[in-house]
Structures are given as structure tokens and as C-alpha cells.
């Protein structure tokens, strides 16, 4: 192939075709989606995140939660995600417009988190982040103790202090474990992960 203009043109066009389909198209069609109003409740869906939950996204990104946890519910005709209770319906593009970035994930070393806000309380999340192996026996999740501070109890115990901690890193008598702002933000974000509101493009029972 010695006709170089043809070579350059081909290199350009083949690449441009996929760029058009996989970059420009999503940018135009999916990247400009807006929330819609839920007919039943009158609320905006997906609901906006509170300030602290939004800050929690940065903590989630910084600590690489995505490398073990996915956040997508696949449809029933392609998976058993709905049968396993990961969510009442598959997730669609609009579910992620509040995410910075969309933490879709590609590994399930740990469970999917799309609807984790429906399953666990803030206390559970804090205890689990502090020492996963104590809450979830046999878990290989790393501990995020560095998001917490072990401090001496001065006067009355701190209102945010974690309760019922067990295991080798439980606080000694007279000490308490208090979440940092990052920990609180992260847990607020995890509690906000609820994608069980209805969306017209994702009918609840996608059946085979």
C-alpha cells in the first residue's frame, strides 16, 4: 500500500466511525439526560444528592471502591441480577446522571451496590467500613480504619462514635472510634444508593 493519502484516510475514517457511535452518540443522547418527575410521588427522579452524599462520591472515587464493587443491575434476559435481588429493575442511563463519574464497575469481588441504600443502615455501614471482617465473616474487603479516629473519651461519649465494635481493633475501655468527615460523607453516599424509583425506559419486569 503505497498510496499514503489512502492510508491516512482509512486510518481516519475507521476510527471516526467508532468515535461517532461510541463517543459522539452517547454524548448527545445520553450525556444530556435530565431528571424526570415521578408521577406517583411528584418527586424528581433520580433524586439529587445531599451535599454530604455528593462529597461522598469523591471519597468513593479516591479509595477505589469501584475495583471490587459494581453499580449496575442487568436485565433479566441477560442475567440473574433481578432474581438475586440486586434491584427491582435494570438500571438505565438516567440512573447515573448524578454520579461523578458513573461508578459502573467491572468486578464483583464484592456485592453490587446499586441499591445498597435499601439494605443497610448507617451504623452497619460504619461498622463494616471500620472492620469488614467482623461484620461480614470471611470477607476479603480491606479495612478502612484510616477513615476513623480512635480517641480517648472526654466526658460524654461522642454522638457519632461507633457502637458494638468487636475484634482486634475494637476500642479499649475509655476509648471510642469516631468517623471522620470523609467517613460520614462516604456512608451518606452509600445510603443514597437507591435506584428503586420507577423510570419509563426501564419497566419493572423485563421478562423472558
Amino acid at each position: 500500500m503505497n498510496r499514503l493519502p489512502l492510508l491516512f484516510l482509512g486510518i481516519f475514517l475507521t476510527f471516526a466511525s467508532a468515535w461517532a457511535g461510541l463517543v459522539a452518540y452517547p454524548y448527545l443522547k445520553l450525556g444530556q439526560l435530565l431528571p424526570i418527575t415521578n408521577e406517583e410521588t411528584g418527586e424528581l427522579v433520580p433524586p439529587p444528592l445531599s451535599g454530604i452524599a455528593d462529597a461522598g462520591q469523591d471519597v468513593y472515587a479516591a479509595n477505589g471502591c469501584l475495583y471490587c464493587h459494581s453499580q449496575q443491575v442487568r436485565p433479566a434476559y441477560l442475567s440473574t441480577d433481578i432474581a438475586k435481588g440486586l434491584g427491582p429493575r435494570r438500571t438505565v442511563a438516567r440512573d447515573y446522571i448524578r454520579s461523578r463519574p458513573a461508578f459502573l464497575g467491572t468486578m464483583r469481588t464484592g456485592p453490587d451496590l446499586t441499591n445498597v441504600g435499601l439494605r443497610y443502615s448507617a451504623e452497619w455501614q460504619h461498622r463494616h467500613l471500620y472492620e469488614p471482617g467482623e461484620v461480614s465473616k470471611g470477607s476479603i474487603m480491606p479495612a478502612f480504619r484510616y477513615l476513623y479516629i480512635m480517641q480517648k473519651i472526654e466526658g460524654a461519649p461522642n454522638a457519632d462514635a461507633l457502637k458494638d465494635l468487636t475484634g482486634p481493633h475494637a476500642p479499649k475501655p475509655g476509648y471510642e472510634v469516631v468517623p471522620t468527615e470523609d467517613a460520614k460523607a462516604l456512608v451518606a453516599y452509600l445510603l443514597s444508593l437507591k435506584r428503586n424509583y420507577p423510570l419509563p425506559e426501564s419497566p419493572e419486569e423485563a421478562l423472558e
Binding site: 436485565p75 434476559y77 433481578i82 432474581a83 425506559e201 426501564s202 419486569e205 423485563a206 421478562l207 423472558e208
Partner: protein, 260 residues
Amino acid sequence: MSEDPNIPESEEFREDELSSEMNVAKVHGSIMREQADPRDGYEPISLWLITFSFALVFWAGMYLVGNSGGFSSEVFNANLVAWDGSGAAVDKGPPDPMIVGKRVYTQYCLVCHQSTGLGVAGQFPPLVDSEWVLAREWHGDNHVVKVVLNGLQGPITVKGNLYNNAMAPWGGVLKDEQVASVLTYIRNEWGNAAPPITAEFVALIREQNADRKEAWTQKELQAIPRAVIDASAPPAADEAPAADPAAPSQPPAATAAPGA
């Protein structure tokens, strides 16, 4: 220097020839023994490869047209679009309760009542051919819905066998459609055959039992008159038992106290 291209040149052979050039450019052993730069041969492409490629392109076209949801940005499930390629998602009708019900059963009920519906002897009662499920004898549609919504406790008799366990309430976890689907499923699986339970009936029972916090006992349920869903009439409340004349079981006793 050698004109024979088949003999790789060795270093000592070249040294005297190139001693002058070696002062100009350091020509070391690795370059001396190098082969010529790569060039192209011109064998034709095999016919098999061409045929295979065309076959693959054909398959690709068919797959793409059939699985692309009409190329719409709002269709996320490829199987929701008819072959005629109509753009928007085509509704395939209301979901089949047997499929939804089976899913609910697998997720919540199977762990005790087993995938065979036979339960565990002495522990969890069977659903297969059970009078509780099929609304036979004193049991009605209302009783089985109450059991699912609020749970069951204390000694019970199923198919002549005694069980004394506790069934968790599912009213807080399952929606009306799910309760209706799973009951329809268990009534029509494993050789069972009984009319379906509707979501409206479940909603009615749920409303009537809104204040009920505890699980039912067999004694309490027996005191409530039997009621079945009548297709021609609106669902009956507990207070006014409406016997379905076509039902195979006996008509209920005289009106009892308003619904327990």
C-alpha cells in the same frame, strides 16, 4: 566479498574489507550478521478465509438488526422490540404471574418450602396438594393471603400432619402484585391447580388487616369465614362471606363475627 547470498557473512571475513569504513561508522557484529529487512511475499488469500469472512459479515448484519431495539436511544432491552423493527419499545402485555411468582418463590419461599414444594418433614409444611394453598375444606383464598401477609405461628395441621413452626410475615417485603403472583404460582405448580389470586384481592385483604401486627394462628384463621375470589362479583370482605357456588368445597357456616 561474497556474492553468494546464501552464506551469512561473518565478522572476520568483513574486517579487512571494511577497515576504512569502520573508522567512519562502528559496524559491529550484530549488524554484520543481520538478515535483509523484511519484505512481502504475494501468496493469495485462501478461498476459505474469504468465504468465512463473508459468512461472518452476513451473521453480523442479521444479529445487529435483530438485537438493536430499533436503534433507539431509549430502548435498553434488545428483546423488547418486534422483528419488524418498530422503533419504540413494544409492550408485550402484562407480566406472566407464573414467571414473576416463580422468581418471588425462589427468592423468599424456596429456602423453607423447597424447590419441590414438598417442604421438610416435621418442619416446614408442603405446598403440593395442600388444602391451605388450594382453598379446600375450611380454607379460603382470604386465609392464604393473610398467612403470606402476616405470617403464621403455633400448631397447624397440613394434610393430616402436625407442624409447629413460625412463618415470617411478608406483607412488608412483598407488594400486592408479588403476593398475588407467588400465590398464583404455587397454586399451579407441582400438579396443583387452582384459580389465580389477583392483586386487587390482596390489596383488599391487606387493607382489612392493616391493624394486624401478629402472625396468625390456625385457631384464629378457622374462626374467619372462608372467602374466595368471585370473578363475576367484586371481592368479598370477611364480614359478608360470599360462597362461590362453583367452588368444590362446602359452603361456609353461618356468618361469624366481623373479620378477625
